[in-house]
Amino acid sequence: MNRKHKGTSLLLAASLVLLSACGSGGGSANGGVSPSASSAAGGEAPGKKVKLVFWNTSYPTIDENDKTKKKEDFYIYKAIARYEAAHPNVTIDIQDIPDGANAMTKFQTAGIANNGPDVTNLWSGNYTMDLKSFIQPLNSYLQPSDIEAMTGWNAVTENFADTGTIYGIPDGSDGTIGILYNKKLFAAAGVDPEQNPPSNYAEFADMLKKLKASGVTPIGTGEDGDFVYFLDYWFAQMVGTSGINDIVNGKLNFHGEKLLEVMKSYLQLYKDGYVKTDQHETQFYNGKVALIFGGFNLINDAHAALGDDLGMIKIPNFSDAALVKDGGIGGTGADFVVSKSSGHPEEAVKFILFLVSKEEQIARFKDGYGKLLNLKNVDAAQFTQNPLVIRQQQWASEPSTIFWPDNIYPSELSDYIGSLNSLVIKSQLDAGDFLTKLDQKRDEILAQK
C-alpha cells in the first residue's frame, strides 16, 4: 500500500511539473528564447550580450529564380552581418514570417502571449495603430535628427498627426501606384499614352476600347479588382484626403452621389470585358494583357519581362470634378515596430535606425529591394539609370500622391472592402448595396469602439 501511495504521489508531482511546463512554454515563437529570457541573458549594461529577435516580413530571403542562392547573399543578411560587426555584443536572430495580414495576426497573438519579437515590419497607418496595445511607443528613443532625416512619420504617429505618440519607424516608400503598360501592345492598338494621356474616365474607356479592338485584354487586376491600387484612388481623389478621414469618422458616407458614380463607371470596365482577373501579373509579363496597376514594387519584374517595352503613366483622373488631380495612391505603407514584450527596446530601435539609415537604404535600393528611399534630400537618380524608377521617386514626392486609404480605414474595414469588392466585380453585389454595406460596417466598427 505504501508503494501505491508513493506511486500516486509521484504521478501527482509529475503532472504538476507537466502543467507548469505547459504554462511557461510561451517562448517557442522566438525560436525557444523568449524576450524575457534574452533579456536576462543580455540587459542594457555595456559588455553584456544582447539578442534581438527580428521577425522579417518584407526582406527577400528566397530567390524564386535561383533556389540555390545562399541566405548570406541576400541584402538583409549582409546588413545584419554589418550591424553585428559594428556591435559585437548584439546578435540578431532573423526569422522569416508571412507578410501582410498574416503578419498582423501573428504579431497580435504573440503580443497577447507576451512573447512577441523585439523588431518586426508591419503595414503602417491604422494597421499598426490597431495593434498599439502590443507596440512600444518610440518617442523617448528617437532623436529629433532621426525624425528630421526621413519622411512618412505621419503614417506611424497616432491619429496621423505631425506630433504625438510614435509607434513605428517608417520603412521606405512604395512610390505612387500608376499604370504599367506594354508599349508594343499599345502601339499595335494605335494608342500613345505618353503623348496623349487620358485625362478622365471617358478618355480612359476610349483608350481601353481601342486596345480591346486590337485583340488584347486591356487590363489585368487581382481577384479583388485591385481596390487598393486603383479604385481607392478614384474614391480618394473625388472626396479628397479630408473626405477619406470623414468617411472613417462617420461624418461622410461611402454611399453618396460621387462614389456611386465612380463605382458604376469602374464596374462598366468589367461589364465591357476590359478586365481579366486571372494571374494578372504573369499575364502582363507574358504580353497577354496590356496594362496593370502597380508602383515601384513591380517595376523590376516588369522590366525584366518586357524590357524597353515597359511604359508607365499615372492613373487618369476620374473626372474634372476630382478634388485631387494627377496623383495616385502611395507613400510609406510599412514600418518597423518594437514589440512591448521586447526586453531591449533601446537596442531594437538602434537596429531599426541602422536599417533605415541613409547608407543602408541606398544599399538595399541598389540591391533591388522593392521600396524607394524615404530620406529627405536624397535623389534616387544618383543610384539608378532606370527612368521609370526615377519617375516613381519624383511622383512619390508630389503632393498629389495620396497616402494609402486602406491604411487610413480601420483594418477590419479594409479587409471587408477587399472581400466584398470581389463580389461586386462579378456582378453578384450591386454597386449601391456595396457602398451601403461599407457604411454599415464602418458604423458597426465605430459603435464597437
Binding site: 497580435q108 503580443g111 497577447i112 477590419e412 472581400s419
Partner: protein, 290 residues
Amino acid sequence: MHYRTRESLTGYLSLLPAFLALAAIVFYPMVNTFIHSFTKWNGADAEWIGLRNYTFIFTNGELWTLLRNNAIFLLSIPGILLLSLIVSVLLFEEVRGWRFFRSLYYIPTILSAVVVGMLMKMMFAQSGVVNQFLRGIGLSDGNTEWLSRAPTAFLVLIFCFYWQTLGQGVLIFLSGLSSISHEIYESAGIDGAGWWQRLIRITMPSLVPTIVYFTVTNAIYCFIGLFSLVYSVTQGGPGRETTPIDYMIYIKAFQSPGQLGYSSALSIVLFVIVLLVSWAQIRLSNRFEE
C-alpha cells in the same frame, strides 16, 4: 486511515492528473472565453460591456449568413453518407480490385486539410486542370471562375469535404459491416432473401448506430472543423459568402483588432448551436433505433 478511505483517496488522486490537464486545456479556456464574451477585449485590456457583444451578434445580420453557410455544409452530409455506404458495401462484398480501392479511398484522409485545400485551389483555378479538362471534352469554354462565385465555391468546398471524408467514412462503415454476424446473412440466404433484401432488411438496420455516429461527428465537423479547408480554399469568399461561423471567429479574433470579446461571444453561440444540433440528432437517432 481506513482501508476503504485510503482506497478511494488513491482513486481520486489517480484521477487528479487527468483532471488537472483537462482543467488547464479545456475548462480554463472555456470559462475564460465565457467571461470575455461579456467584455470588449483586445488581448491586453478587457472592459466589461455586459450583453453588448451578444446583442451585436443577433442584430447585425451577419449570424444568419454564417448559419446559412454552415447549413449548406450540414445539408451535404447525406451525400457523403450515401457515398461512403455504397463504397463500403462494395468493398465489403469484395468486388474486383477491392484491396486497391480500399487504400485509394483512404489516401485523402491522411492528407491535411490545408494540403487538400491548396491542391483543390490550384485544380479549380481559372487556368487549372479542371477547366482545361472541361474545355478538352467540350463541356465548357474553360473560363469558369469556380472560386469567384458563391454556388461554385461551395461546390468546390463540398467536393473537398467529400474527398477528405470518404476514406474515414468507408473505414467506419466497414467496421460496422464486419460486426454483423455472417450467420444472419446465411440464414437469410437459405430463406431465399436476395442481395437487395439482405441489404435493406439486414445490413442497413444493423448499421444504424454507425450511421448515427458518422452523422453526428460530421455534423459537429461542419460547425467546428471547416476552418482549415475554408481558409486554404476560399478564405471565406467571395465576400463572406462561404464563411462559416468558425472561420468568422478567426476573422474577428485575429484579423479585427479589439474584437476578441466579440469573437468569444460568437464562440459561445457556436458552442450552444453545436450542443443543440448534437442533442437533437441523438434524440432523433434514438427513436430510429427503437
